[in-house]
């Protein structure tokens, strides 16, 4: 199965458009990828994944896009009139984009020679750091990406939205590269969306470098549809005195995997990561989080909430690595999960690796069902049992929604959260 998958990758790579910004080149990336032993059930970080869903079906590059469908997928964003950079099936689409003001944002394919040089210099430096197979696969197949460069001292007031849309079957490997200078701030959102019932395979990679004393809010909403496979990678790095807030949502799609890595490479960093994931039907979601505290006096907090219903299956792995020099670290990880049916499954594993002796580190992971007392309380007021279950389940993940400071952006994921509860089967 792995060999067949690899030969499909080589084929797809050979038909992809030129990507001169990639430092190693597409051929090298494909070769590196095919030389790798692919993760399988015996690979620790992948043991809960049904990899037949990943390697089993066809992989070929997405063909010509359906721009009308793409435009339809942007309706809610158009309604709130925000800056949008649109990638359709992995390629930039200027017709559907509304460029942001006050910040340098450009598609790789449209970048000037000078910008391309910066892209080439920055790209891959973080995402490949741990030999992540699917980051390599992205390099082999990526046709375009977005480069956002915030100069030192610049504050980007309005949230910039980068939207990756899928309108035709096949693979797409969009790339998002951000550099925020010193004493700057940025709020950006990345959206991953698809038309329904599409055999789309998404391999997005986001790399983010945050300068000293800067502040970044990062929304990442992967809103999949039946037929979608999504294997994403985020690699963020913070410099001294910076603040980073991430808000993740994963809903829908047959197979989701997100590897989220955060490197705290300066002192006095503050990081807060909030996430929600919800699976129903036969959906599978796996979130792997890795936070590295390299230096002293940093605070990190991770709050993740998951719900699995019907035959949904979720995996959460939260690793916090406190290196020897990272004294006075304060790290807190909370992962709570709710099972809404007997056939759903959730596996959670917090992992703390602590090599410094003067740190505060707390973690908690739970998997449970709705509180019977709370259900009775709601029902005693006349709330029907299904509505009571929805209210309590919504309340359960609401902590993550309430953490999002940009209400308009939070509003883009709420309808999908609401829709999750419609017509759920089985208790």
């Amino acid at each position: 199965m792995h060999d067949a998958f690899k030969s499909q990758v080589l084929n797809a790579a050979s038909s992809a458009a030129d990507a001169p910004w990639m430092p190693t080149g597409r051929d090298q990336a494909s070769k590196d990828f095919t030389a790798l032993a692919l993760p399988d059930r015996k690979t620790e970080g992948w043991k809960y994944n049904d990899l037949s869903k990943l390697y089993g079906s066809e992989l070929s590059l997405a063909g010509d896009s359906d721009l009308e469908a793409a435009s339809g997928l942007l309706a809610d964003l158009s309604a709130i009139d925000v800056p949008v950079l649109a990638l359709v099936d992995g390629r930039f689409c200027s017709a559907l984009s509304r460029m942001p003001a006050g910040v340098s944002a450009v598609a790789f394919s449209q970048a000037s020679a000078e910008q391309q040089a910066s892209i080439t210099q920055a790209i891959g430096t973080q995402a490949r750091s741990d030999g992540h197979a699917f980051a390599l696969l992205n390099e082999a197949l990526s046709e375009d990406g977005i480069w956002i460069d915030v100069d030192s001292g610049v504050n980007v007031e309005r949230t910039v939205h980068v939207v990756s849309l899928r309108t035709v079957a096949g693979s797409a490997a969009p790339r998002l590269l951000l550099r925020v200078g010193d004493n700057a701030s940025l709020s950006f959102a990345e959206h991953h969306r698809s038309v329904a019932g599409l055999a789309a395979f998404d391999l997005p990679v986001t790399e983010l470098q945050i300068g000293a004393n800067s502040s970044v809010h990062h929304y990442r909403f992967a809103l999949g549809e039946e037929g979608n496979r999504h294997v994403g990678r985020v690699a963020a790095r913070q410099s001294a005195d910076s603040r980073y807030y991430a808000y993740l949502a994963v809903l829908g799609g047959d197979f989701n995997r997100l590897d989220f890595g955060l490197d705290l490479q300066g002192q006095n960093c503050e990081s807060e990561l909030y996430g929600l994931y919800m699976c129903r039907a036969q959906e599978h979601t796996d979130i792997h989080l890795a936070v590295d505290h390299a230096l002293p006096h940093c605070n990190s907090k991770e709050v993740f909430r998951g719900i699995a219903a019907e035959h949904g299956k979720a995996v959460f792995n939260g690793r916090i690595h406190i290196h020897q020099d990272a004294q006075k670290t304060n790290a807190e990880l909370s992962n709570r999960n709710l099972l809404l049916s007997r056939t759903a499954e959730i596996n959670t594993k917090p992992e703390l690796e602590i090599y410094a002796d003067d740190v505060k580190c707390a973690h908690g992971a739970t998997v449970g069902q709705l509180d019977a007392e709370a259900l009775f309380y709601l029902r005693s007021r006349g709330t029907p049992v299904e509505a009571a279950q929805s209210l309590l389940s919504y309340g359960f993940i609401n902590e993550v929604l309430l953490a999002m400071p940009d209400e308009a952006t939070a509003g883009l994921v709420k309808p999908r959260v609401d829709a999750f509860f419609d017509g759920l089967q089985g208790a």
Binding site: E373, A374, F376, R379, S380, G382, T383, L392, Y394, G395
Partner: protein
Amino acid sequence: MLSIENLQASVEDKAILKGLNLSVGAGEVHAIMGPNGAGKSTLSNVMGGRPGYEATGGSVTLGGVDLLELEPEERAYAGLFLAFQYPVELPGVSNMEFLKTAVEANCEHRGIEAPNTAAFLKAAREACAQVNLSPDFLKRGVNEGFSGGERKRNEILQMIMLQPKLCVLDETDSGLDIDALQVVADGVNSLRGADRSFVVITHYQRLLDYIVPDFVHVLSDGKIIKSGGSELALELEKNGYGWIEQEVA
């Protein structure tokens, strides 16, 4: 209005209610007092249909409807409201959303038109003012971080919004200071009317200074052993429960 006949109930196989009879007419306020372990909370839980509290015999009918056959939400539609002794926290569920869902479900099942959003908001704000809670409480999670007194006032707020026929207050006075007690009592008194009845379950006479009952019953060992007017409560306060238990024995 409410008729309880020969009600028997067990909790974890232990008989708690042993043939309880109570009849409450429309517009009446009945107080049920009794020592710890008499079955006071079991009575309210059995009436509300809390899981784990099953009636093993007898009947409870409200307006001719047999409550014991109904799901908890259906009991609400029949007109029952149970003010909890320990109202639970519902983190992340806003009070507003919670009230709106409940009001709409009750209206639908009682065959009355649900208020539109503006009317609902107005009613909710008025009810807040009535129980001396800031309207900000509507936006907060249900009972989330509320003090004991705020939780009890929130119960009365719900009672006002849901307009029940029969309100059962389960030791609503426990843990309340005098000011909160006054607010709770004022809320209850404002709802008193010819077509609404109350069963006030309490350990202490104190609450009955503020909510003056028409009848007082003494519950002991799962049965009502003595009934009287509001003066009975004063007598109990003065002399305790022992003398009645002896008198009956």
